[in-house]
């Protein structure tokens, strides 16, 4: 039994899969950071900017929000003006996710009373100052759970890159099935396939489950501190 496991999950195979997972995480991390930044700007523009800009941001958000992410991976893989495969795919995730984030931010902004702008203005805050010190902190506190589930979606959607042959975790897992004989030196069995897929699922699950636990912890801490502040 132990011999079987050490043969199947030999350093070669583990390294091969983990390197794929590193690509997954790199693409996800870059896409998440960029799309939160762009999404916040888009959300602000859609809520507060003058008419033509507002409509433009709205059109961008609705167009990308209502089409599949997979389509953008395909399109960007072919057409994006970036040098490497993974960077082109990252651009697809940024395009799609920034629209989703913008919609989430807009939802958060909606929950902030208009009076806060007037109050800030009366205290001498400039518009950027009002947004940065007063509006956005409240907005983000409100939308963190929704944002987190979107972040988890990004991590999961990186597996679309398997379709355009970027060697991320899912692509490598599937690829192992065809190169198994050359790597291990025997025919692949049902058990091998299930364990390899199980291992890949476990990696995805570990990251995503941790993310959702972190947010639950943050929410709980927030609830405790605000309860203490009230008392």
């Amino acid at each position: 039994m132990i011999a079987y496991f050490t043969e199947l999950f030999s350093p070669t195979i583990l390294l091969y899969l983990l390197r794929g997972f590193a690509i997954t995480l790199r693409v996800a991390a870059i896409a998440i950071v960029l799309s939160i930044l762009i999404g916040t700007v888009l959300g602000l523009v859609r809520s507060y900017a003058p008419w033509p800009l507002r409509k433009l941001a709205g059109a961008y958000i609705e167009w990308f929000r209502n089409t599949p992410n997979l389509l953008w991976v395909m399109v960007c893989f072919i057409a994006a003006p970036l040098p490497s495969d993974w960077a082109r795919c990252t651009m697809a995730y940024v395009l799609f996710t920034s629209a989703m984030m913008a919609e989430i931010v807009r939802g958060g902004l909606n929950s902030i009373p208009r009076g806060q702008f007037e109050a800030a203005q009366s205290q001498g805050f400039t518009l950027p100052g009002t947004l940065w010190y007063i509006i956005l902190p409240q907005c983000f506190r409100h939308i963190i759970p929704t944002m987190l589930s979107q972040i988890i979606t990004v991590v999961k959607d990186t597996s679309f890159m398997a379709q355009v042959a970027v060697a991320e975790l899912l692509f490598r897992t599937k690829n192992l099935m065809s190169i198994f004989y050359n790597v291990v030196g025997r025919q692949i069995t049902a058990m091998d396939v299930f364990l390899l897929f199980g291992f890949a699922m476990l990696l995805y699950f570990a990251v995503n489950f941790t993310l959702s636990c972190v947010v639950r912890f943050l929410q709980k801490r927030d609830a405790v501190t605000s309860a203490q502040a009230r008392n």
Binding site: E62, W63, R65, N66, T67, P68, N69, L70, L71, M74, V75, I78, A79, N110, P145, T146, I152, V155, K156, D157, T158, S159, F160, A162, Q163, L170, T173, K174, M177, I188, T189, A190, V193, F194, F197, A200, M201, Y204, F205, N208, F209, S212, R216, Q219, K220, D222, A223
Partner: protein
């Protein structure tokens, strides 16, 4: 790609093959409807289980939701399509796609249903039991009908996600819109521009009305000061 969109003959080629596109569009619709049915059934069952008093059904529902929400749809699909044949289970690609998308979305819908049930005041359960209603009668006659109104927006949003997710059928040659557009893009003419643009427009036509309706309806509920399922989930998370 951009200049291809402004090349008339590529569009002509595309439109001479319109029956192909139409069939692909109908396949996407069919997959979406079947998967939605499966997802609704699973969502209600597991949503009821996770609002049960007993620990076992709650735990089962928890495992179902956490597993399917935290692993990619793609790997579930590849597992069913590429790995299960090793165990002697061969499913056609369309069935695989509907099954995977349905079960995956079911996990999300079950959370929506759970939040919906959570938004109904506890007193209603007690009142129903005191009048001799059984558990099933309470749920189907009293609780679930009331939740429908408030869970509609998130439910429709999940439906939009489901439609977008049916595009993964393309990965296993499911013959859906994404797959045909992809094929068309990579055939001899290499007309990526028109193929992907028309594919995007068709998905947009399906999803945009639904997501816009959901947003408007939700804003209406907020104006009426009715607690939406998102708010219920939030307060729950804070209380736990």
């Amino acid at each position: 790609m951009i200049e291809q969109i402004f090349t008339p003959w590529r569009w002509q080629n595309l439109f001479t093959e319109w029956p192909l596109l139409l069939r692909a569009f109908l396949t996407t619709l069919e997959a979406a409807v079947l998967a939605l049915l499966l997802a609704l059934i699973l969502g209600v069952i597991f949503g009821l289980m996770s609002s049960s008093h007993h620990r076992l059904p709650r735990a089962v529902a928890r495992v179902y939701v956490e597993f399917f929400q935290n692993t990619p749809l793609m790997i579930q699909l590849f597992f069913v399509f590429f790995a299960l044949p090793y165990a002697g289970i061969n499913l056609p690609s369309f069935t695989c796609g509907v099954l995977c998308v349905g079960v995956y979305t079911g996990a999300y819908i079950s959370e929506v249903v759970r939040a919906g049930i959570g938004s109904i005041p506890r007193g209603q359960f007690e009142a129903a039991y005191s009048q001799g209603f059984t558990y099933l009668q309470t749920m189907t006659l009293i609780i679930l009908p009331q939740t429908v109104k408030i869970i509609l927006p998130p439910l429709v949003n999940q439906c939009v996600n489901l439609i977008k997710n049916t595009s993964v059928l393309a990965m296993i040659a499911g013959g859906d819109l994404m797959y045909v557009a992809n094929n068309w893009a990579t055939n001899g003419n290499a007309s990526y521009g028109p193929a992907y643009l028309i594919c995007g427009v068709l998905y947009f036509c399906l999803c945009f009305p639904l997501s816009t309706w959901a947003r408007r309806y939700e804003e209406k509920l907020k104006r009426q000061d009715i607690r939406t399922p998102e708010e219920v989930l939030e307060t729950e998370a804070m209380a736990s």
